[in-house]
Symmetry: C2
Subunit: 200 residues, 2 copies
């Protein structure tokens, strides 16, 4: 490959990924097709099939491009020492993104492809969700080290307890994603459903 | 409508719903079409379009048919007085269903349609998820009345805290659905992430 063809390939690749993101924001993802992405990107259908096996794979790479655009650094959760306040802040930011018309629809489209496709789900866990989950675990681990979280706590279950209810409510549309709801999820997860003794 | 045409209509309706469930169990739902359901049911495509606007709507009615088949009575959660044991039992049964090849794939297909389609989601919340959620709330309310759950607890958040992590892990394939995992979700939700004082 000459430097020029490499440059042209990279330009086509970025055009395809950008077209996929644009179309998902504008239209119903269920109706989106490889043909539609190709037309919008100004490339042939074969160009897409040469690089990607499915529209889910295109969308996944578009998300990778977005996160590279964000600096490519490993994510870190805020740590002011006040765990509850930090978690409330992060969960509010998550909900803001999910409710944002630029980010919510592509995220929903990717989540639907993941629900369909175990291979895509594995790639997502490894490359996108994995680093973010590690950042969440690290924040909780630091809290655990200073005695703010229970000693024997399973940090993966703890992450699921904070983010799982919100993500499931969003994806399955069982209720509105308000900050009142997410704040209550954080405090309820920290406190637990059982009554606390008078000592706490 | 004469009694005979009514009977024939009902037979066609049931054939369509049964065909949809059979096909979802056998094949990738993403590839399933109204044409495929019509062929399997032995009816014309127009018969399906006369009654249902989309394949998601067919699947939804198929689920209603299944739950009517189960007796049509309002669901009730077990109440032995031991809340933790009862919740562990129910969540294990949920996971068994989700891992069951007869039930898991159609449930996943319906969940994906719900993620796509806000109208279908509203119908699901009203007719299928609603009665089940009320049964969960009732079990928690009884526990709250006898002091086993915190007084000010929001019962909807409590339901999401127990079922949300499991449903999200299942739908987004972020980890295996084992009983070890679901048991830990129940105990962690009840206890909370923060350390309990020595009084508890």
């Amino acid at each position: 490959m000459t430097p020029n063809t490499a440059r042209r390939s990279e330009a086509s690749r970025r055009a395809v990924l950008t077209a996929a993101l644009d179309l998902v924001q504008e239209a119903d993802y269920a109706k989106l097709s490889i043909e539609g992405i190709a037309a919008r990107a100004g490339v042939g259908k074969q160009t897409i099939y040469r690089w990607w096996p499915s529209k889910g794979a295109v969308l996944f790479d578009a998300f990778l491009m977005l996160s590279e655009g964000a600096g490519g650094e490993a994510p870190v959760l805020p740590d002011t020492g006040d765990l509850e306040a930090d978690l409330i802040l992060v969960l509010r930011a998550t909900v803001e993104e999910l409710n944002d018309p630029r980010f919510g629809p592509p995220m929903r489209a990717l989540s639907i492809e993941i629900a369909h496709d175990p291979e895509l789900a594995a790639a997502y866990v490894e490359r996108l969700d994995g680093p973010l989950r590690e950042a969440k675990r690290q924040r909780l681990r630091r809290a655990q080290q200073v005695g703010q979280l229970a000693e024997g706590l399973d940090l993966d279950v703890a992450v699921d307890m904070i983010w799982g209810p919100v993500l499931n409510r969003w994806l399955q549309r069982t209720g509105p994603l308000t900050t009142a709801y997410t704040d209550l999820v954080v405090t309820t997860a920290l406190t637990g459903l059982r009554p606390r003794g008078s000592s706490s």
